[in-house]
């Protein structure tokens, strides 16, 4: 098939015709039908990539919401709310801005927790 035909048919249709040259008639009505079918049905790899594209976006949303799921049980009372915001914000800042490894941030949190007073209801 010529480059001009490749352009005219589109990538998927061109792939369909060139992958099975012995079974597909590449001229006339049969070729037109084959090209139409191939154009309407993108390759499984392209479909998978497209689906994954949306799914990973949802995964980011799920992970973001998980932050709230983790902190939510402690977000009670004025003391509890201040504590959650402060500890989470400091942990965030230590990791993002001070580049302290997460494991050390958690160890530091344990150390801080040893001296924190009990939250008032």
């Amino acid at each position: 098939l010529s480059a001009a035909r490749k352009t005219a048919l589109g990538a998927n249709s061109y792939q369909a015709l060139t992958c099975f040259p012995e079974t597909v008639v590449n001229t006339g009505f049969p070729a037109a039908m084959a090209a139409l079918n191939a154009g309407a049905n993108p390759s499984p790899i392209a479909s998978k990539r497209a689906a994954m594209h949306g799914a990973v976006a949802a995964a980011v949303g799920i992970t973001t919401k998980t932050c709230w799921t983790i902190a939510h049980p402690y977000f009670k009372g004025r003391d509890g709310q201040i504590r959650v915001v402060l500890i989470a914000a400091v942990a965030f800042a230590l990791y993002v801005f001070a580049h302290i490894p997460p494991i050390w941030v958690l160890i530091l949190a344990a150390g801080v927790g040893a001296f924190l007073p009990e939250p008032r209801p």
Partner: protein
């Protein structure tokens, strides 16, 4: 990374995590940023796999292990996930009463809250990798909204987002 080191890295994540995805920052820091054997894209995919299949959320470490070292890595991930659970049984038996101590509770609470802040920080590179066009940004925001307001099962959200992206791609609206 060899299998034993992978096990230790994943174990470091699972031991310090008190909730499913809370181990993600530790694992991301080690495997993505330090050893460069995993990408943020693969980490996102591991979350997708876990949230669209039955089982606990923490199972994503099995998918992470698979991405790093194939079948052996998946088994390592499973072992790293199971180890804290197995360790907690004798631990509770011997120090069970101390776990009820209010000081111990406050320490554990502080660690859990800090892990929420770390997880939020870990989302930044994941979002940078995954939210590459207007559709994915909308899907990401919509996911948070749906989960916060209606608490829809994450399986349906993942399936819906995949279908929306597939349809948009078929219509030529986006080019993933």
């Amino acid at each position: 990374v060899n299998i034993f080191l992978l096990y230790l890295i994943l174990l470091k994540g699972t031991v310090t995590a008190f909730a499913g995805l809370a181990s993600l920052p530790v694992i991301q820091a080690a495997l993505v940023f330090q050893y460069h054997v995993l990408t943020d894209q693969q980490l996102n995919e591991a979350v997708v796999i876990t949230r669209s299949t039955p089982g606990p959320v923490g199972l994503y470490v099995v998918a992470v292990g698979y991405f790093v070292a194939g079948i052996a890595g998946a088994i390592t991930g499973w072992a790293a996930m199971a180890t804290p659970v197995l360790l907690i049984i004798p631990l509770v038996h011997y120090v069970g009463r101390k776990l009820e101590n209010s000081r111990v509770k406050i320490i554990l609470q502080t660690i859990v809250i800090a892990s929420a802040g770390l997880l939020l920080a870990a989302v930044i590179p994941l979002a940078h990798d995954a939210l590459t066009d207007w559709l994915t940004v909308i899907l990401g925001l919509l996911t948070v909204l749906l989960l916060l307001v209606w608490e829809i099962d994450t399986l349906w959200i993942v399936v819906g987002a995949a279908a929306a992206s597939l349809a948009a791609s078929a219509l030529g609206v986006i080019h993933p």
